[in-house]
Symmetry: C2
Subunit: 425 residues, 2 copies
Amino acid sequence: MTARPRAFIVVTGSELVRGDRRDLNGPFLAGELLRLGVEPARISIVGDREEELSEALAEALGAADLCVVSGGLGPTHDDRTVELVARAAGVALQLDEELHEQIGAVSRGFAARLGRPYVDFEAGVRKQATIPEGALSLGLAGTAPGLVLERGDTVVVVLPGPPAELQRLWGKARETEPVRRVLARAQPPELRRLRFFGTSESAVAKALAAAGGDGDGVEATICARDFEIHVDLVVEPGAEGRADELTRRLVAPLESHLFSRDERPIEELVLDLCRSRGLTLGTAESCTGGMVAERLTSVPDSSDAFVGAIVAYADDVKARELGVPPEVLERHGAVSAETAAAMAGGARARLGADLAVAVTGIAGPGGGSDEKPVGLVFLHAEGPEGSRSADFVFPGDRSSVRRRATVTALHLLRRLLQQTRDESA
Amino acid sequence: MTARPRAFIVVTGSELVRGDRRDLNGPFLAGELLRLGVEPARISIVGDREEELSEALAEALGAADLCVVSGGLGPTHDDRTVELVARAAGVALQLDEELHEQIGAVSRGFAARLGRPYVDFEAGVRKQATIPEGALSLGLAGTAPGLVLERGDTVVVVLPGPPAELQRLWGKARETEPVRRVLARAQPPELRRLRFFGTSESAVAKALAAAGGDGDGVEATICARDFEIHVDLVVEPGAEGRADELTRRLVAPLESHLFSRDERPIEELVLDLCRSRGLTLGTAESCTGGMVAERLTSVPDSSDAFVGAIVAYADDVKARELGVPPEVLERHGAVSAETAAAMAGGARARLGADLAVAVTGIAGPGGGSDEKPVGLVFLHAEGPEGSRSADFVFPGDRSSVRRRATVTALHLLRRLLQQTRDESA
């Protein structure tokens, strides 16, 4: 059905294939390619051994329209990407005089700063300036050049491993003539996203099937991410009407759970709602230990609306710093709806915030009982015009309970802000 | 040099190859295999298209001693892993009666809970109970069986995609006779880790080279992770003496930066130091917005030592809740050594904590000036026996500055705890 150009992504790095570090470049490049209308067919992660990298390159050169290689461009002997790409493409290596000068200049700077003689760097400089015949340089990342070369029907892009450098030189690679030729054959699909909260992946899958399912130029992926359910639609040119219809039918039974059709993270939605209403915001956290505040302050300029948080882990901090009455703690316990409500009220008063959300729960693995099991979390959001509360027994381990509680707290704030906005409108 | 069995890991999932979701199974399996003495040679991530998965399987079956496949075991038509594994291995598929019963029982339960007729599930049940001739079942994850089969010299392990299920059934796969036979040929290397803080990857690389470098049965990987520098040594049987010598020489010039030879994260080291000295701990955070507290409370039973945090984002919260004198804020600014010191003192007093660390800085992208640029962070840790402070201009974006400040705050606490411990010893 699709005649999109196919891309292979080859990522090299011993620490990646051994699981010591998680690869970020494969997912980044895959997302970029998909948006440009190129099908990412495979991500291969290999070590820096010659045979592994050579095999992966040989497969890609045979099968892909575009092969993007990440990593292995350093100055030392175990960085062999350029040499092996040349061999796989069947072209010779040669010293590029211009690159030799550029890399030499950068390395002289390094040598001076480190107080070491330039001669120590010379072999590395020659190695990094030695590139396959006919390859285009994309400019340097540190002392490593990014490269583009063609071999038969495959365009090969060679990029450095550090993600920031890879992303910068990928931008340059896109502008080169060989890559533009591949992209000219690609028809960028339209990408649409629907985000739901408070429903399950299987409920959304069921609704999608009942709505007619994907196909006919619309591909749908359902993905639970950070406890939200995201539906991504990849819409081929000409299938926009079919996508509209599918969206309408999918959303109808899930309307109350749909909260966004864009990419803004929930913390940004909450802050935008606060700003638009001129409200300030704070948090009172026990089991989440500051995670709600951390999410909110991850947004640049969050200080416009967010004023602070009190993480009250110990009970006497709940009493002293949030003003939770000792008799509430005694009668209902620290993990209770009453304590959550008192924490939210206390945070508003102490922090001088218009709005506050409180979270108290049992993240585990210890501390649970029959009556109050691990995963039990009480949430309470309070603003000038009302409040909302909720409680759950979240499944999963400590980290999972804490992350779910954090996301739920943010959505509780969103609902409170939307409710009061709707009512006051 | 190494005669370790080679493993290929094949991960299938459209959302993974498209970069919508990051694969966790590849790194998990790679780490497991490495520990068992099997060399993870490649991780291939492919979508659920027939040709992509078939190609990846064919390559693995030719080249690997062990091929572990993750994902694509669901009941629907686009979950094709089992069928394609059978085809790649050249064996027929057949209905396994015992599995048919097991999966049927689970599905009847689902049907009842969902209030749907069992007949809706029947095709899926037959599909999931249909496995390659000669394959061993590892038991079910949901309704999907994990499988082990042999083809020539390759043992193939088929596991479900959800990470928790994959990890559970991988444990079972390890106990099967075919996998045990591969593992019997593996010589598990000894893995050693050295962790440094406050030095750079290149400084450690230089020290490693000066110490004689790796080789001769010791492989060293240097990896910056969460702003610490980790050196992982993979030590082949018989090379222990060489590893001891290399370690000694590597550590000598970096002694003051070496802080751990084990895997415990820094937040756990800090909590352990607090517990061993009977001290309680709190934080006062501005630019980190609760991240230090979040890290500390990620550790189970952290409530033994951690009492709480005050996230003082707005200046009047710094004054009111942490008691930072308004004249300090006015004269030195919220981002200053003086404010950090006052915040730490305030947190000790307000939270009733023996020890507190304070962080205040400019995370960016806005808010910087010539005098106080983005990335400027002041830290102050104070305990019953003394204090330590530090300031930095951290590079990178908002997230990077915040994460660096968080890790640095934890290490400042560690140094304060070790200093006072050493002095009082």
